[in-house]
């Protein structure tokens, strides 16, 4: 039987109230969002916070909207809400691709976008998706709000730049013309964490040249969840099977997957290359490239 250790519990009524509770109780206080990562960790005694600050009442952090040329997602948005959002999928199909395969329908009703990102598990799917989309994180603290690039948000496994008296409130994703995005994941069974996954974003100009590329890798030992060398390779090139295969090979060569119960290192490295290639092919097609070429049409 797994039971959390003794803990105190406070309900926050606003962001500033949550921050003042965090300040009052000090570094052993933790934000409780959906609890679907934190409570399992507490049951295993891998986490032993002294105080939980429940932020589920902060309805103003549950939103998905477009403003200032960005898709903005409040951090209390649940996986299910993001999955169901036609607005989000309309701009970035990668979000629907990823959400369809994050956990199961029941867990998705409770797990939140902010909890996913702040948990900072190297296998967390949204971290790679937001890195591919070159998002910006909005963090609220006692002195006001600050912005951090999605690519600088994670400082290591289970570590982020969010300080003890801070809270992630929003993710902002730049909306630019010519975008196509996709996410492809391999897991052992339905609803499981990834063995490996790749997210891709491509921005094409009118001549069909790649003006920018974003590639995120999940659970594959990529620094900051990003395949930066493969992105550099693609910028300025034309989409195509050879370019995508080469980008995949570069991504595979530059990541450092670790063997674990989900698979050996060489298999994961193979996945890094192959899933990058597939995600790029689907992203390019969604950006309007190569109608009818057949490339990527059989991939999920």
């Amino acid at each position: 039987m797994q039971v959390p250790a003794q803990v105190e519990y406070e309900k926050a009524s606003s962001v500033s109230h949550a921050l003042s509770l965090l300040a009052r109780y000090g570094p052993e206080a933790r934000i409780l969002a959906g609890g679907h990562s934190l409570i399992p960790m507490m049951k295993l005694r891998l986490a032993q916070p002294e105080v939980l600050v429940d932020v589920n009442g902060l309805a103003d952090l549950r939103f998905i909207r477009v403003a200032g040329g960005e898709l903005r997602i409040g951090t209390l948005t649940t996986h299910a809400q993001l999955l169901d959002s036609a607005l989000a999928a309309g701009h970035f199909a990668i979000l629907r691709d990823a959400e369809r395969v994050i956990a199961d329908p029941i867990v998705r009703e409770w797990g939140t976008v902010g909890g996913s990102l702040c948990q900072a598990d190297p296998s967390e799917d949204l971290s790679a998706a937001f890195a591919a989309l070159k998002g910006t994180m909005i963090i609220a603290g006692p002195g006001g709000k600050r912005e951090v690039s999605a690519r600088e948000f994670h400082t290591g496994p289970y570590e982020t730049v969010v300080g003890p008296v801070e809270m992630l409130t929003e993710v902002r994703l730049p909306v630019k013309a010519g975008a196509g995005t996709a996410y492809v994941k391999v897991s052992r069974r339905a609803g499981d964490w990834p063995v490996g996954a790749a997210g891709a974003a491509l921005w094409l100009d009118r001549a069909g040249v790649i003006t920018d590329a974003g590639i995120g890798l999940t659970a594959l030992g990529a620094q900051h969840f990003v395949a930066a060398e493969a992105e550099d390779y693609l910028r300025g090139r034309r989409p195509g099977p050879e370019a995508f295969a080469e980008a995949g090979a570069i991504a595979a060569a530059n990541c450092r997957p670790a063997a674990d119960q989900r698979g050996p290192e060489d298999y994961k490295r193979h996945l890094a290359g192959e899933l990058t290639r597939r995600a790029l092919a689907v992203a390019a097609r969604r950006a309007g490239w190569g109608e009818g070429t057949g490339l990527g049409e059989r991939t999920p």
Binding site: M1, Q2, V3, P4, A5, Q6, V7, E8, Y9, L32, G35, H36, I39, P40, M42, K43, L52, D54, N56, A103, D104, P105, I106, V107, E109, W110, A190, G191
Partner: protein, 155 residues
């Protein structure tokens, strides 16, 4: 901490430790043992009940998180002596063997049908994809839910 919950329509007030999980509150404090406690790791779904109108794996939330809210368990599915169509479907289609997974499966099935009255087989399989039947009676569980969908309006 003092909490009040509305479980299957009745109000219950208790003083609980914040670390108490919802499944233990429902089973041990209220004696409603219909909801089962299985894997304890958020994977099997035997503990699924509703918090307000949303199913939750109740081994993965604290009882205090349900303070002031409505909880519905499998005991709350029937209307008096009239079984819910989902319960009738499990009876008609042999939807259970040992019955351990059944309460969670039924609560998820009811939620699915409330949102999607005419699900396809794929919809049903997707809905229960976070739940495990150790007797592996999935075929009949899916049939039971589809039976319920087809008989929803029957008197």
């Amino acid at each position: 901490m003092k909490i009040t919950m509305y479980v299957n329509g009745s109000e219950h007030a208790r003083d609980v430790e914040p670390r108490m999980l919802l499944i233990h509150f429902i089973r041990d404090e209220l004696g409603l043992t219909g909801s089962h406690w299985g894997c304890d790791t958020s994977n099997c779904g035997a503990c699924v009940m509703w918090l307000d109108e949303v199913p939750v794996k109740s081994c993965t939330v604290l009882a205090v998180m349900a303070d002031g809210r409505r909880v519905t368990t499998v005991e709350g599915l029937a209307r008096g002596t009239r079984l819910d169509p989902v319960q009738q479907g499990f009876t008609a289609c042999h939807g259970l063997q040992c019955g351990f997974c059944t309460p969670g499966m039924m609560m998820t099935a009811r939620w699915l049908l409330d949102h999607n009255p005419a699900p396809t087989e794929t919809d049903v399989r997707e809905a229960i994809s976070g739940q495990v039947c150790r007797c592996t009676g999935y075929q009949n569980i899916v049939k039971s839910v589809l039976w319920a969908a087809a008989h929803e309006g029957d008197a």
